[in-house]
């Protein structure tokens, strides 16, 4: 511990912390903008300047380590004036169209002006010439960028993708791709983590709200909506709730009030995914153990950001991916076949909207692989943030809504489906079903939670040995199954490199593209801090434990779907509607240059 004085108060802090962190630990707030706890420490905005006795100039407190005997003053006329001037300088190159900006009242720059007590904008000069770049998932409006570089940190250090970096120099500096290439021509995974950390309106999801209103307004369209597992534990944050609240029932009601004809639950096809993916896994293992051809480890394929990453970075390893489509495209495919047949409408007259915690899903639905008979499985994807905006726009008093249920036949789900929204969840859900299928016994873990793969660590692993399996699975007797789970693309890279070197010890790997899984997806409410992520995680497990139905194979509507329509897991119909293939892409390009 080291001792220093901040604003006349003697404090002790661990060695290595910055002045800003030392102050925070002692309940002293130093205004700051570009700094992002645990993620980004760069010192680009300089708003956190403080006076340090003996130092010639003001010091950026987010960068300077606290030292023994230091005397720091955070609240002096000099620091207050400097912060205001620095703020006004940022403002001099920022459009002042706040009232019509989508970040109005959720903008960190705007909030900082309030905190600093800024009442004038004295500097007027040249404005940077920002370009608007619209990709299927992410829209970049660089005229609003304040060069904080948080997006660079998440894109490079956290996600290991590296499509964004500072280009040019001085006033010409712009955060962008190499040679200003459009985002849809480079190796962006569309994870959208940059849109979560952007403090202003420079990085955001590509808007689908008007397309969805148009579909709802169209009397000839049957408009179907579905919501992903991670929405119900997060959307409350944009509608006045504290993080960690589960609002499933009100969400179903709100969707009906918005005018959707059918309110389905992506959880239903999460359960279905477990049956399809579990069957695929057992088939691969059987082939491997009985001398046939099989690629192991098998890796989950629910996360389209992860899929795009692996297509760019490890195009020779695509055989490891499960061929299962992601759950929401499965639901779209079933809505436009199984359900359309039931209600006797032409699939072309149906419009499927997915509400997702994800920006990459916006791109995913535009892939040619995600169509059947020339009709896209899903027509539009809204992020959690976009749905919250629609609810506000419609004047719905969300807090006072009654609870309701999702519609059947695509609305019932098990707790196993709920945990698809969190890292480790897909694996746990699969193990609950596969273990029971193979042994006839319940997965031997407390409350069915595979504890070693629960939590927010980057790479987690578990193993268990199969004993006394049922007759049909005798080939598995005594086999120790090894699984790994990772979230965030840096962890995925580590596991893929093992595979590329032929050193992977695993049979089954779960990868989610965003750190923590879909609970902190690129389409979730801002901010997503470590505390908020933890609260959403706990909420998801609460939702799971609160259900009677905990295992995917016990979902009676899934059973009925097989009886009436699909016939058997991994069967002909499943392959046509629920499975897909992947595309090799260039390391830095959308497609490989021939």
């Amino acid at each position: 511990m080291i001792n220093l004085t901040i604003n006349g108060k003697s404090v002790s802090v661990p060695e290595g912390v910055t002045i800003l962190e030392a102050a925070k630990q002692n309940n002293i707030y130093i205004p700051n903008l570009c700094y992002l706890e645990g993620v980004h420490k760069f010192g680009s905005c300089r708003l956190c300047v403080v006076e340090v006795e003996g130092a010639r100039t003001l010091q950026a407190s987010c960068m300077v380590p606290a030292r023994e005997g230091m005397v720091v003053r955070t609240n002096t006329e000099k620091t207050r004036k400097a912060r205001k001037a620095l703020y006004e300088l940022i403002l001099s190159d920022h459009p002042k169209d706040c009232l019509s900006c989508e970040r109005n009242r959720s903008c960190e720059l705007q909030e900082m002006g309030d905190i600093l007590g800024v009442t004038e904008a004295r500097y007027n000069g040249e404005k940077s010439k920002g370009r608007i770049d619209i990709s299927p998932s992410i829209t970049r409006d660089m005229s609003k960028c304040i060069l904080c570089r948080r997006c660079i940190t998440v894109c490079n250090q956290i996600q290991n993708v590296g499509v964004l970096n500072a280009q040019n120099r001085g006033f010409e500096t712009v955060i962008g791709t190499a040679m200003d290439l459009p985002l849809n021509t480079v190796n962006c995974a569309y994870c959208g983590q940059c849109t979560i950390v952007c403090p202003v309106g420079a990085l955001k999801e590509t808007d689908a709200i008007q397309d969805v209103w148009n579909a709802i307004n169209d009397k000839n369209k049957r408009v179907v909506v579905q919501v992903a597992p991670a929405i119900r534990v997060a959307i409350g944050e944009d509608l006045g709730y504290e993080p960690g609240n589960i609002v499933t029932g009100k969400l179903a009601t709100a969707l009906r009030e918005l005018g959707f004809d059918d309110v389905f639950d992506t959880n239903f096809t999460a359960d279905l995914t477990i049956i399809e993916e579990g069957t695929e896994f057992l088939t691969r293992v059987k082939n491997a153990l009985t001398g046939g051809q099989a690629t192991l480890p098998m890796i989950t394929s629910c996360s389209p950001g992860w899929i795009k990453y692996v297509e760019h970075s490890f195009p020779e390893k695509l055989d490891h991916l499960s061929t299962c489509k992601s759950p929401h495209t499965m639901l779209g495919a079933l809505a436009k076949s199984y359900y359309a047949e039931k209600i006797k409408i032409d699939p072309k007259d149906m419009y499927v909207v997915s509400v997702m915690p994800c920006t990459a899903k916006k791109y995913e639905v535009s892939r040619p692989e995600m169509q059947n008979n020339g009709v896209p499985n899903v027509d539009a994807v809204l992020t959690t943030r976009e749905l919250a905006k629609m609810i506000k726009e419609a004047g719905i008093d969300f807090r006072n809504l009654d609870d309701a249920q999702f519609d059947n036949p695509l609305g019932l789900s098990s707790g196993a489906a709920d945990i698809f929204g969190v890292t480790g969840g897909v694996m746990e859900a699969a193990l609950r079903t596969v273990y029971e299928l193979v042994t006839g016994r319940q997965l031997p873990f407390d409350k069915l939670h595979v504890t070693p793969i629960v939590g927010l660590q980057q790479i987690k692993e578990a193993e268990f040995t199969i004993e006394n399996p049922l007759e049909a699975y005798k080939f598995l007797d005594g086999v120790t199954v090894k699984v790994a789970v990772t979230s965030g693309l840096s962890g995925a890279k580590v596991l893929l490199e093992q595979i590329a070197k032929g050193e992977s010890p695993y049979h089954f790997i779960e990868v989610m593209g965003c750190p923590g899984g879909c609970i902190s997806g690129g389409g979730q409410p801002r901010p997503t801090t470590p505390e908020i992520r933890q609260k959403r995680l706990e909420a998801i497990y609460r939702e799971d434990e609160g259900k009677e139905l905990r295992k995917s194979h016990e979902n009676k509507y899934v059973t009925k779907l097989y009886e009436e329509f699909l016939k058997e897991p991994n069967g002909h119909k499943s392959h046509e509607l629920l499975h897909t293939h992947y595309t090799k892409r260039g390391k830095f390009n959308e497609y490989i240059i021939k």
């Binding site: 499509v163 280009q167 040019n168 962008g176 791709t177």
Partner: protein
């Protein structure tokens, strides 16, 4: 400067693109595991290839195992690096404070007329690339300009044509 860059000066013109890429690959192999070596690699690559087009940036990023946006970021940060083909000779007119005050702007205007291109461009015959420099450290000789490594002092605009004729 290391020997790779020097040795290239004499053989650039006869070398095929494939040979140039081969030599750049060898340089990268030598430097790739040294921290902070990207600038050196770019510097040598430009001296071999003449400039750093996107295809070459992709080649370097791939072989250095770095993001393409980082490579491009470094290239666009330093004015020494060029992403456009360059002329045989580079004219740099100093626009530092002293040269500016002593008539640097007049040199620019006159050169634009003589060369038929604006600042930042290369002449059609690929003979000259025309640029501005921010103080070349010859303030006492203002207005100054450089052609390649040679400094011309107290340049009289009327003498420009005869200077260029030597190249």
């Amino acid at each position: 400067m290391s020997s790779e860059a020097l040795s290239c000066q004499c053989c650039c013109d006869e070398e095929s693109d494939q040979q140039k890429y081969q030599r750049i690959a060898e340089i990268i192999e030598k430097y790739k595991n040294r921290e902070g070596s990207l600038i050196q690699v770019l510097h040598l690559s430009q001296s071999i290839y003449g400039y750093l087009p996107l295809e070459l940036q992709i080649f370097i990023a791939d072989h250095m195992d770095k993001p393409l946006s980082e490579v491009s970021g470094v290239i666009t940060f330093y004015s020494f690096f060029s992403t456009q083909p360059r002329g045989k000779h580079t004219i740099r007119v100093c626009m530092g404070t002293a040269c500016y005050v002593r008539g640097g702007k007049k040199l620019i205007d006159r050169l634009e007329g003589i060369l038929g291109v604006s600042v930042g461009s290369t002449t059609e015959d690929k003979k000259f690339t025309f640029e501005i420099a921010r103080c070349i450290g010859a303030c006492g000789l203002a207005p100054a300009m450089m052609i390649d490594d040679v400094v011309f002092k107290q340049v009289n605009p009327d003498k420009l044509e005869s200077i260029l004729a030597k190249y």
